[in-house]
Subunit: 204 residues, 2 copies
DNA sequence: CTATTAACTTAATAGTGTTAATTTTATTCG
DNA sequence: CGAATAAAATTAACACTATTAAGTTAATAG
């Protein structure tokens, strides 16, 4: 018979507690600042204790990444709440995505930039979080097609990959401070959205 | 008076030698595999010696990143060599960029994904390498406008930011294995290029 | 030859992720 | 309740890491 000293909700609570501290450390000093020693110090436990909840640092960061995807998903959901027209929703959604990325660039970078072999043993939690976030986009694209506002030449999923890709590309050039566009970004962001919508519209 | 035991070219040679090993280590095992100890071991010197040439690991990785930008620049330059039409060149360039990224995804990831505070003390070498790579794109865009094949609503630099962003976004979704598009990518890559060109074309 | 100095080595510091052995703590059964 | 049992946390250790400082070698300029 299996006996648990902690009930499942308690375990989940402790996990979240650890992730809270990890996120705080990350947002202050990046990925390097996240260490089991530091987490343990803030949680007033030994540096080995968090291993009961996360098998490795990679697993911890993966959970953090999943959180970030759920966060940006929420931002998109909130953004489309007021609009009824799917094409309007698509615009709002893209804008919200980009704004979120620029508002917390480090968190956004975590989602995409710090990956060490995610292929092996992909976390179901992360996969689901990504799927859900992309799902918002896919649903809106599909709705726009149904409403006759978009005539897709590919399936809605592929179309939202294209859409997401465009939005992601522009902000990540800015976020990673790879190419600073400065004020030009304010012009380019709506322009990218218009361009992508136009591209999804075009009849041959 | 300043005396140098090594002439400037010799110093540059040693730097390149270190970078060669660092690149090899990186392409095998990612950023974690690059360490001064391992480099030193392969170069048959003490693990402290490379510090004469790179002040920190970050500086070493920055130099490696600059190399990668020059590499992808070369790929673009090679790609446009045969074409005379600017709009054709733009297509070829974008395709070559995306192909390069997918061919050596780890190297591409290094360019964009592993950045720890690049803002402070930006390496002139890296800044120049980025500028040069983007410059290819900007020049072709400008040429296309001059030839009447593109009617830009923004300056060529901003336009190429948009263009680069779109291409980068699509491949980086694939590269980081964030969203696997599988075969759909073959469709989406040309579609993204067409979409971006159409977006840069549109008259109001 | 001697002083200088670049290049390098050795040694040490402070930190990391991770594992194993051990102790503490709490729960469940008799 | 008390003893058995197992979970949770701790301590200690290992094998790394980046980085710095002090000391050494070797070559060159005057």
């Amino acid at each position: 018979m299996v006996r648990l000293a902690m009930t499942q909700p308690q375990i989940e609570f402790r996990r979240e507690e650890i992730l809270d501290v990890a996120l705080e450390l990350f947002e202050r000093g990046g990925i390097e600042a996240v260490s089991f020693r530091r987490i343990a110090f803030r949680l007033d436990c030994s540096y080995s204790a968090p291993y009961r909840y996360f098998a490795s640092k990679h697993e911890l960061l993966t959970a953090l990444r999943a959180r970030a995807f759920r966060w940006i998903e929420q931002r998109m959901v909130n953004a489309i709440a007021g609009s009824s027209s799917p094409i309007e929703q698509l615009r709002k959604l893209a804008r919200a995505y980009m704004d979120a990325a620029l508002e917390l660039p480090d968190r956004y970078a975590l989602m995409f930039f710090d990956i060490g072999d995610d292929d092996l043993d992909p976390s179901p939690e992360l996969v689901e979080a990504k799927r859900a976030a992309l799902g918002i986009c896919t649903r809106v694209v599909a709705a726009a097609e149904k409403a006759g506002q978009l005539s897709l030449r590919v399936d809605p999923l592929s179309a939202s990959h294209l859409f997401w890709g465009g939005a992601h590309g522009l902000v990540s050039l800015q976020v990673g401070s790879q190419f600073v566009m400065g004020r030009a970004y304010e012009t380019l962001a709506p322009m990218m959205i218009d361009t992508l919508i136009a591209g999804l519209k075009a009849p041959p």
